[in-house]
Chain length 341, copies 2
């Protein structure tokens, strides 16, 4: 057993955190033959006839299934829509496969289905195909939903985590970490931390506006879910072989999230958001991008949080400290908060 | 509680059997807003730009994960490839989302991943995007895999369960029920029933040959998985508003499957296959279709099992009995064999 709770040869909760262990597990088993996750982008690009498609999938196992600001159904729609959006793709169809534990109240299933339907309306997409499996009591934890999505990539747009270049600005569309913290509060009944709601929302509308106005100057889009900003930015640095230098302003978290993180000893940069967008944009288009984002209801809190510089052979993310020095912001490792999506 | 073990208001194993209860559950909750499964076809048709696509998803929760003739990985690839094939679609890309129970041996995960990769090679398709979630011990039963698939529908082909017409012949590409029985034998350690192997196989090669040769005379394709032939034929009868009259020859099951069914009191017509094809074809093209199917390694055991006649307002499937009378073959209801896929 190593220091971060990994037992050799078996899968641990840490492997599901979305950080370094998840990447290693996927690369080890699915890297060669099946290319699952190999590119590390949120979705795969697929060219079929004249159609430029994006294709993505995610399983949702969040617990509890209902939390302030959302539920597993809303999350399952938004998560997949946002993965498509981060490829510059308008979502055109979703699939939904549910694994239900015997004994789940039908009333709960109905609420989740309604929530999925409402989120689909919001995102302008439909679930067109599905599957239902039921397993014995004790063989699943209530309800798991896997959504996949097909989207059409906007003309002239080709986004990937490898697109960041020295001179780019790094923006985020609003304060981060609300989703991860909202799930945690709901799970542990931390009543004193009320007022923290998940940011869970479909991002295609915001992305579409940004691409309409700033187009090719947008180099990378990411939604910082599992592993939070720390994971997303490390993935971008790694894929683009650049250094990302953060100078995080206080507006990166709301007061409530900041206070809760201090109280609980959590780093907000590793907490998941499900309705925020990381934008890496040509430095020259930074101000224009910020004003487009801020003009959209979902981007009002947009701020610049850093810039991209030459990696000099060492891809990494660094963070300015209050002492005027820099520290490395690592890819999160280990358990983080399990089952937040 | 009703006679078939359904408790009002909660989801039961019977809801996952793929029979009437599954259809009712899906229609009740996912019917209106989200159209999951609403059309009852194996996949959804999707037109994007000039591309005629099919899109499908299935979760695989089979237990045990390894059984004679296959495993959960092979099944997860074949199941989705076959759903696309039944829409006349060449599979072009798969996604794979895995939910892993903490504690699963990595060696087992590796075997499953290799098996998926081999099945992909066999089917001529690749997993292009994926997701990995890990849940706590006791929150899932080892490993669940959800695959989705995108396929390109063959030019000039438009298949649906609603395509059957009076005068059509009903064919099946080989003996049925091997998969369901193989899983059951593995699950219960019925050593005396050795020699029964799953028929699990990707069907696109067989379907492609059939469509090349018989083309538009093919009216419906189905792979009889959960609920077996009984479920598939009832779905076709219902969607096409016709009567399907079966005159099932003894070749419909292998000797081993027939014997085991007699011993265990199972109806082979409700047992799942995962590598068999039901073909509804214009009566005039029946002989040609049979010879094309039989010339392919996966269709050598092809036989005619019935015909389509006017429904007269009552869509149903009937079966000739040894007494020369007819009995109704109902849509299977209730538990059947849970978790065979």
């Amino acid at each position: 057993m190593t220091s971060c709770g990994v037992v050799d040869g078996v899968v641990t909760l840490g492997h599901g955190g979305g950080g370094r262990l998840t990447h290693e597990l996927v690369a080890r088993h699915f890297g060669a033959g099946a290319a699952a996750g190999a590119r590390l982008d949120d979705a795969a690009r697929l060219d079929v006839a004249d159609a430029r498609l994006a294709f993505t999938t995610d399983s949702f196992v969040v617990t509890p299934r209902f939390f302030p600001g959302g539920d597993i159904g809303r999350l399952a729609v938004c998560g997949t829509v946002n993965d498509l959006a981060c490829m510059g793709a308008r979502p055109v169809a979703l699939s939904a496969a549910v694994v239900i534990e015997e004994g789940l109240a039908e009333e709960e299933l109905a609420r989740v289905a309604q929530s999925m339907s409402a989120a689909c309306d919001e995102a302008g997409v439909r679930v067109v195909t599905g599957d239902t499996k039921v397993v014995e009591r004790g063989s699943a934890d209530g309800l798991f939903i896997t959504t996949s999505g097909v989207g059409v990539v906007r003309e002239g747009i080709e986004l990937s985590g490898s697109g960041a270049r020295a001179g780019d600005a790094v923006l985020v569309s609003g304060p981060v970490g609300q989703h991860g913290l909202a799930v945690m509060v709901a799970r542990h009944g931390l009543a004193s931390l009320h007022g923290i709601e998940s940011d869970c929302a479909p991002l295609w509308g915001l992305v579409e506006r940004l691409l309409e106005e700033v187009g090719g100057a947008v180099h990378v889009l990411r939604d910082p879910t599992r592993g939070g900003l720390a994971a997303s930015l490390n993935e971008i640095a790694e894929q683009s072989q650049v250094r990302v230098v953060l100078d995080v302003p206080s507006g990166i978290v709301t007061g409530a999230v900041g206070g809760a993180c201090e109280l609980l000893g959590l780093d907000p940069l590793t907490l998941a958001s499900e309705g925020r967008l990381v934008v890496v944009v040509d430095g020259a288009a930074c101000e224009q991008a910020l004003s487009v984002l801020r003009a959209h209801p979902q981007g009002r809190g947009s701020i610049q949080i850093g810039q991209v510089v030459d990696g000099g052979g060492a891809a990494r993310v660094t963070l300015a400290t209050v002492l005027g020095t820099e520290r490395v912001l690592d890819m999160p490792t280990g358990e983080l908060l399990p089952r937040i999506c």
